[in-house]
């Protein structure tokens, strides 16, 4: 398992993932990649993927099959990078990009959890729709809505610059100081550390609110007011 996985390197890019394969036989590489994906489906689901295939020579059938395999797993293949002119041509034929702008060093940082300090935040400039789940070992900031059926699990705070109507768990590893705030606050379910509350009744007048564990140890949401 580890042996095959080590053939594959995965990096986070600004707008997706870059997976680099080696020159080992294509069949092996392909099955290693797919088993890697199948082992962590939620990590890959919905991802935009660029694939660096080193000097592999790939034909149309190979790339079509690859793209189908990936799309069945909810992964969108948009670029294939190769040193082989044949593979480059194949990729162009299929409308795939063959170059990606060189990622700057700080963007290539692995998504490895250990590297992230406590004060790291994940910033997402989009609405989280039903079925999306964000798990992050720091704070999460959303510029957009969190729709019913979407979930955020953060070890730190959760800030939603938009409407919060999904599920949020802040302080997920037990931090009782964590807060959750949103411009419009009507989560389907809210948790901070071990405290949970069921749906907060939808706000009639939508004021920004902030939720925290109060001095009595209860989850409480109140209107935000400038201190």
């Amino acid at each position: 398992m580890n042996e095959t996985n080590s053939l594959i390197q995965i990096k986070g890019l600004r707008d997706g993932l870059l997976v680099s394969l080696s020159d080992a036989p294509w069949d092996e590489q392909l099955s290693a990649l797919l088993s890697r994906v199948d082992a962590q489906p939620s990590f890959f689901q919905g991802a935009r993927l660029a694939l660096d295939v080193a000097s592999q020579v790939l034909k149309v059938d190979d790339l079509v099959a690859l793209r189908d395999h990936l799309s069945e797993r909810g992964i969108f293949l948009w670029a294939v990078i190769s040193e082989s002119p044949t593979t480059q041509q194949t990729a162009q034929l299929l409308g795939l990009a063959t170059r990606i702008s060189k990622p700057r060093p700080e963007e290539t940082r692995q998504f490895a959890v250990e590297d992230l300090g406590e004060e790291t935040a994940l910033f997402l400039d989009r609405t989280l729709r039903s079925g999306m789940r964000i798990e992050f070992p720091g704070h999460v900031v959303i510029l957009g809505d969190v729709n019913p059926g979407a979930e955020i699990v953060a070890e730190g705070n959760v800030i939603v610059w938009g409407r919060l109507r999904g599920m949020v768990h802040a302080g997920a590893k037990g931090n009782r100081q964590a807060v959750v705030c949103a411009l419009e606050f009507s989560p389907m379910q809210l948790r901070i550390a071990d405290e949970a509350s069921a749906a907060m009744s939808p706000q009639t007048q939508s004021k920004p609110q902030i939720a925290r564990i109060n001095q009595f140890g209860n989850l409480q949401a109140e209107n935000w007011s400038p201190a």
Partner: protein, 265 residues
């Protein structure tokens, strides 16, 4: 000119995808466009029934893909509208007979020959759905004014965004204005508020839809039908015309909402 490929999908089953494809197809074809419908719901075909073409099927999409017939042989011509064709789904074969690249290849061959290719997607977000959206230039998401349907539509929109298919345009089907007025049904406003994508049509609940489907004569062919008019309007919007929305919920602020949504982009 090369055809635009439009896929109709929903997430939740039974919300009116097939109905929408059949009605948009006849509405577009009545207006002179050359239309090919593809039934992408392998194993559960029914677009042919709604279009009234069921008993003319010889070959189906899987026959084309597996090379048992030429594309032209599988295209059934509508007797009423000679510029409307259907490529039926296979009834018996398993779903894995078709892949995303098969769909892309098939539509590529058709693009030069028509103006619109309409693909009826199966419910869900599995392989059949992925196949149906793979070749799409534009996706129409159908929902009903109902919490679970809207939730699934939201999910589908999220996937479309992730796959770079744009957020899609929304059809709200089976809206019942009197239930909305009594606040027993989500309003178009409520649905748009959550999904926040472009609205391309609102179709009222109308028993004529079912009757038309059973007769193989989609309501868009009936000049007196309200639902038919709604579908004809969507067809005109697909052609780029600006058509005002039918006033189904008088007193609602729908127009403001639409304006606001348009401004957001």
């Amino acid at each position: 000119m090369t055809a635009q490929v439009i896929t109709v999908t929903s997430g939740k089953g039974g919300v009116g995808k097939t109905t929408a494809v059949a009605n948009l197809a006849v509405a577009l074809a009545s207006n002179g466009s050359r239309v090919v419908c593809i039934d992408g719901d392998i194993g559960l075909r029914n677009l042919d029934v709604i279009l009234g073409l069921e008993n003319r099927i010889v070959y189906d999409i899987v026959d084309v893909i597996e090379g048992r017939c030429r594309l032209k042989q599988a295209m059934i011509k509508d007797k009423r509208l000679p510029n409307l064709h259907l490529i039926p789904a296979a009834q018996t074969r398993d779903k894995n007979a078709v892949s995303a690249s098969d769909m892309t290849r098939l539509t590529k061959d058709l693009r030069a020959e028509c103006d619109f290719i309409l693909i009826d997607s199966p419910a869900g977000i599995e392989r059949g759905f992925k196949n149906a959206i793979a070749p799409a230039d534009r996706v129409l998401v159908v929902t009903n004014p109902e919490v679970s349907a809207v939730r699934d539509a939201d999910r589908v929109i999220g996937i479309l965004e992730a796959e770079d298919k744009g957020p899609g345009a929304l059809i709200i089907n089976r809206l019942n204005p009197s239930l909305v007025r009594r606040q027993e049904m989500l309003s178009a406003d409520d649905v748009l508020d959550l999904l926040a994508i472009e609205l391309i049509g609102i179709v009222p609940e109308d028993e004529g839809v079912l009757i038309g489907s059973n007769r193989g004569a989609p309501v868009a062919l009936d000049p007196k039908s309200k639902a038919g008019e709604a579908f004809r309007n969507i067809a005109r919007r697909l052609k780029g015309e600006e058509v005002p929305f039918l006033d189904l919920e008088s007193g609602s602020s729908l127009w403001e909402r639409i304006q606001k949504l348009a401004g957001r982009r």
